[in-house]
């Protein structure tokens, strides 16, 4: 099997001895939301998650819920996001983060095709358990979408083995039991799950949920191959701080990670 663009990129970062930084931006949040994606790229992200808003985002905390609601109220749909992205030609790989009913309603293959046509390499669907997702995984594989899977602190070892086998792109290690959002300190569970997940797979393992500062990102990367930062980015967008603030934020994380993990060369 040939590796997708997302996994290829994240593996290359790992091979170079550095860490991956993957911010999350809510798709369609503001007319100029692509400027936020561009800012993330300028700030030094290795890949970017694009949130496709859903009415009932059960994995997300208050900040991303609010961003979801704002985007939905302005009429954003999976199609408008895909349309906006066409022609954007992102220099870094993108992954869509949404909920399963969006894919189910559209049809698995059509949804996968929509992502591919929009230049999106991977997909994250947190509310479909691995055991129930055979149909989606088949469609994703066929159309060429990297299906990202979760490793939770409560996952037993045999489940982590299966996750490691089936995950494409990266394994999303959930840093703590809870919803997305910034926390005052990094949970011990983040390091533990990253380390356990890595023991079960060769696919890059990124920690997300609960990372709210560059220091916490560095701490998580003691084990993980990289981090996902969502609410800390989206909070700035919801507050109307604009693309410059996002670029500066990402650059701060980039600098902290590069200082702690400067690479092999």
């Amino acid at each position: 099997m040939t590796l997708g663009r997302l996994e290829t990129t994240l593996r290359a970062v790992r091979d170079s001895g550095r860490k991956s930084l993957v911010p999350y931006v809510t798709g369609g949040l503001g007319d100029d939301w692509l400027a936020s994606v561009a800012a993330v790229i300028d700030g030094g992200a290795n890949a970017c998650e694009i949130g496709i808003p859903f009415s009932d985002p059960v994995m997300d905390g208050p900040i991303i819920q609010q961003a979801n609601d704002l985007a939905l109220e302005s009429g954003v749909t999976p199609h408008t996001i895909a349309e906006d992205l066409r022609g954007f030609e992102s220099p870094i790989p993108l992954a869509a983060m949404t909920y399963y009913n969006i894919a189910y309603r559209m049809g698995h293959e059509r949804f996968a095709q929509l992502l591919v046509d929009a230049g999106i390499s991977g997909a994250i669907l947190p509310d479909i358990p691995m055991d129930e997702s055979a149909e989606w995984m088949t469609a994703a594989e066929k159309i060429g979408v990297e299906n990202i899977l979760f490793a939770a602190p409560t996952s037993p070892d045999d489940r982590l083995t299966k996750t490691g086998e089936l995950a494409r792109g990266f394994v999303y290690a959930v840093g703590l039991l809870g919803v997305t959002g910034e926390r005052a300190s990094l949970a011990a569970s983040a390091i533990e799950i990253a380390s356990r997940a890595k023991a079960h797979t060769d696919v890059p393992v990124l920690v997300g949920v609960g990372i709210g500062s560059p220091e916490q990102a560095v701490e998580a990367c003691a084990q993980a191959d990289g981090v996902i930062i969502g609410s800390t980015v989206v909070r700035r967008l919801v507050e109307g701080q604009g693309a410059d603030a996002v670029r500066d934020l990402i650059a701060t994380y980039r600098a902290a990670l590069d200082e702690a993990f400067p690479g092999n060369d």
Partner: protein, 357 residues
Amino acid sequence: MQLEQAFTEAWADASFRAELDGLLKDYAGRPSPLTDCPRLSEEFGFTVVLKREDLNHTGSHKINNVLGQALLAKRMGKTRLVAETGAGQHGVATATAAALLGMECLVYMGEVDMKRQELNVFRMKLLGAEVTPALSGSRTLKDAVNEAMRDWVATVEESHYCLGSVMGPHPYPYMVREFHRVIGSEAREQMLERHGRDPDVVTACVGGGSNAAGIFSGFVDTDAELIGIEPAGGAAVGNGVPGVVHGMLSYLKQDEHGQVLEAESISAGLDYPGVGPEHSHLAAIGRARYESVTDAEVIDAFQILPRTEGIIPALECAHALAWMSRERASLAGKIVLMNLSGRGDKDVTQMMDILEL
């Protein structure tokens, strides 16, 4: 998965069943009576028989499921119950079971529902539960479910999510139906004893569908027609298409892109855009039928039972009464068993504003 295994073991364990049966009898007041309604029957032109779940402790069928889940949670070593509630009946029942078994209790309730059901909010607090408003989305039942799920994910080691209907991820739809099976089993026996036969029609209101699932379970293997009544503004089986939310695949009120739509019903307990998967299945195979009634029909029907039988029904149950009232002609001469799943005390403040008697 931990829950599925725990339930399977407990349900097969005679001592667990005996403990639950004991609580249902001596604490909740089961069996609930079967009540014939001569004056209502005369007005409607067919025989109406009510299964009186409104007479259970806490005023609705919800206590059956909650006692089962609370005992199970305790058996699993959990110390805290998390629940969602719409009208507040499930929240009150959960708070009650938590108090009874010495557990912590946190109930999520849509901000809109907290206003229209403030009596139940007070009852929950009195019972020692914490009530937290769900401030997202439509601020009703669906959003309370979202908040309860978010809480559960974060506190799963000490918390049990005491889900209030036959919905959500496996094993909830099955487990909650099993805990409510007692409604149908009792009613079947009581019908045979009293009327010497099964009813022609069994009807109940459907939001998520737990009271309907309970009473239907006693009659699926009879010739009785099973009819669930949904609110017109939240008719998942009626207007929905299959969708996945809250961990279940079922009929769902949603837009063309898969965004879940807000249900709109006068009754907070039925204000849910989805429905339990078993009801979707019963509809798909043609074993049960689902009809809907409007808020206006419900308001009219709400007043019939107090006047004819001296029983104030919950607004949820008034949906089934509204359907019976509309179908007088087609039901003529039949025996109709209706699950009166809750009493209307909680709704009188809301109805006072509407009816201006």
